[in-house]
Amino acid sequence: MQKLSLRDRIKEARVTAGDSFRGGKLMSSIFRPGSPFRKGYVDSPRNRSYVVMNNVLYHLHPVKVKRHGVRLSYTLCLGGLSFFLFIVLTITGIWLMFYFRPTELAYVDIQALQTDIAFGSLVRNMHRWGAHLMVLVVFLHMSRVFYHGAYKAPREFNWVIGVILLLLTLLLSFTGYLLPWDQLAIWAVTVGGNMAGYTPVIGAQAKFGLFAGLEATTATLLRFYVLHVLFLPFIIVIFMAVHFWRVRKDGGISGPL
């Protein structure tokens, strides 16, 4: 009988405890079969399939993708990054909602956010720069798709949805622009709203509907706030779901060229 040193016995106990925890009922209930977090996961083609198939990820990704599509230089991850930025913006945005009132107090709230609240300034900056970045990334994603001719059959309709998503992204960014309620916000939105007023036929109505009046007031602030935090995210999520779903239904990533 080999006598184990104390260190080895501790190590053995640790491994055994870890295994029994990872193989226990709790972890088995959380992680579905094939998850790398479950006990006994081995790297095999079968398990690689299960990682995706037995997971919520299966709604986003197929088990296998075209080899050329995983090259970073093909997509530059732009579509995925657009989605990721949307998630970042949702998280930071919800956080900001705790400290923001879309009234005359909006400006005071932003000031408090920048000075009084822990990480307030950082989260606000992340939300703002992330929004600019998202506009840019979505636009670059569209350009990538165009240069690859990825809008061609059978992906025509997904291009249409993509353009709608771009417009929704612009609208989300534009409605968010007013919320700090400073001089930059109100006048940028005034200029933008006046441009909407030049829309043929329905220009005046479009401008009135956007401003909730003839010019930017706190009524406009409330309107933009509701559009920004509730209505437009709701719409864009629906279109994103269709967009991702169509990517898979139309045969995955386009190409190779």
């Binding site: 990704h61 900056n125 720069w129 809008y151 353009v163 622009y177 400073d182 829309t199």
Partner: protein
């Protein structure tokens, strides 16, 4: 009845005719049960070949018209005028009376004397169409597992983006000017940067605004409908030069207009040089003061 394609029937008839030394038409008629099966002898019925006017047909059309001994051929000819060849085959088979089906050749093996080892026992009973049960929808594609080959790069790029965003937010302060005041108009008043190209464009044709906005609204419609307008199926850039050129011009135009709007426009929307007059773009306030 089984729908036997005409060309298979023809091929089978040719083989049978060759084996038995009879005419193809005769073999065909026998297979359709329209005439009694030939009893092979050393002297094939050459005379019959001479009597049949139609030569061995290549296409199924004359087949139906062949004056085979059976009487029911004529209706086939009428049907054939309007129907497809497959239809003809179907009709030709359908009118075969089941009772007249010839006895299998195996019944009379003794009478085959020209080649005793060759027993002509086969007869075309049915033909399975050459359509596979499982059809390959597309060519096999070189694929890799999503995990880990796609998900790891994705994860890394998400982490990189997060790091970049946090770093950017730590360094650059988002602008916050004085409280909103509808009575104090800043000069110039600029839209968000992604609308500045549009604002710049509108500044050119201010009196004829409709002349700009209508194309813009139409432009969005055209943009959405682009896949339906561009019918060129090619995806390689060398085969779609016009589309590439079109988009690149659009990109360059939008980029130039936006840069002008951001950097080169000052009070009264007059032209300014950023290195001489400064920059009027408050969104980059911190960037400007950063120096």
């Amino acid at each position: 009845m089984v729908d036997i394609p005409e060309h298979l029937l023809q091929r089978s008839a040719e083989a049978r005719a060759k084996a038995l030394g009879i005419s193809i038409e005769q073999a065909l008629a026998e297979m359709k049960g329209e005439s009694d099966p030939t009893v092979v002898s050393k002297e094939p019925e050459v005379k019959i070949i001479e009597e049949t006017p139609a030569p061995a047909a290549e296409t199924p059309a004359p087949l139906a018209e062949t004056p085979a001994p059976a009487a029911e051929v004529t209706p086939v000819k009428e049907e054939h005028a309007a129907e497809t060849t497959e239809k003809v085959a179907e009709v030709a088979i359908e009118k075969k009376p089941a009772a007249k089906a010839p006895a299998p050749k195996a019944d009379t093996p003794d009478e085959v004397d020209f080649a005793p080892e060759v027993k002509v026992t086969q007869r075309l009973l049915t033909v399975v169409k050459a359509k596979p049960i499982q059809k390959a929808a597309s060519e096999p594609v070189d694929k890799v597992n999503t995990w880990p080959h796609l998900m790891l790069p994705e994860f890394v790029s998400l982490m990189a983006m997060t790091a970049f965003l946090i770093l950017l937010s730590a360094i650059l302060q988002a602008p916050l000017l004085e409280e909103a005041n509808p009575n104090v108009t800043p000069n110039p008043a600029k839209a968000p940067w992604y609308f500045l190209g549009l604002q710049e464009l509108l500044s050119y044709w201010d009196p004829q605004i409709a002349g700009v906005m209508i194309p813009l609204v139409l432009g969005i419609a055209v943009w959405m409908a682009f896949p339906y307008i561009d019918r060129n199926p090619e995806t390689h850039p060398s085969k779609r030069k016009f589309a590439i050129m079109f988009y690149t011009f659009f990109l360059a135009g939008a980029g130039v207009l936006t840069i002008i709007g951001v950097l080169f426009r000052g009070p009264g929307w007059n032209w300014t040089y950023p290195w001489i007059d400064g920059i009027w773009f408050d969104d980059l306030l911190d960037w400007i003061h950063f120096e």
